[in-house]
Amino acid sequence: EPEVTQTPSHQVTQMGQEVILRCVPISNHLYFYWYRQILGQKVEFLVSFYNNEISEKSEIFDDQFSVERPDGSNFTLKIRSTKLEDSAMYFCASSPSKGITGELFFGEGSRLTVL
């Protein structure tokens, strides 16, 4: 069964460092997303991406964050200068549908720990 894969599974970084989280969405999907989940809290939307551009972003997704689809298969989330509060599980998701229908397929997540 096709799945969304994410790397790394866990990254530990020092505050102020740049981090790149990588995702390979399901191959025929058109919409890509990043969500995050702070430990014990709800899953929160960060950004959606379609046709090589951001289609929507949340208040959390400030200038420190960026996304890119560099080569037609990978989808990356970059945090330029990490803060302690960026520590969370980051989930990549993809969807085959035009517009959100709830049919998101999530990866297993990348746990980011900022020290």
Partner: protein, 112 residues
């Protein structure tokens, strides 16, 4: 307006019981209401979803009940099993938005 409120935060049920998880929303533009199941260390996985033109949807042992006038929806798990122990999230979206709004999650434990 964008919030989805979920209760309870945690729930313990004996095997064979029927856990019920409730969600409420304010945004009348929401038109899609999925439930996600999350096991420890895994990403959320779509369990079942409903649109507001129906009041109930069943898939196997999982049922969503939807009350449009009250702006509430709930998940029922029939004949619950220990393998159903997980965190359950309700969510909502509107067709024009590119995002899901999640509830706080319910940690469900089914005791053998």
């Amino acid at each position: 307006q964008q919030q989805v409120k979920q209760s309870p935060q945690s729930l313990i049920v004996q095997k064979g019981g029927i856990p019920i998880i409730n969600c409420a929303y304010e945004n009348t533009a929401f038109d899609y209401f999925p439930w996600y199941q999350q096991f420890p260390g895994k990403g959320p996985a779509l369990l079942i979803a409903i649109r507001p033109d129906v009041s109930e949807k069943k898939e196997g042992r999982f049922t969503i009940s939807f009350n449009k006038s009250a702006k509430q929806f709930s998940l029922h798990i029939m004949d619950s099993q220990p393998g159903d122990s997980a965190t359950y999230f309700c969510a909502a979206s509107d067709g024009g938005a590119q995002k899901l709004v999640f509830g706080q999650g319910t940690r469900l434990t089914i005791n053998p």
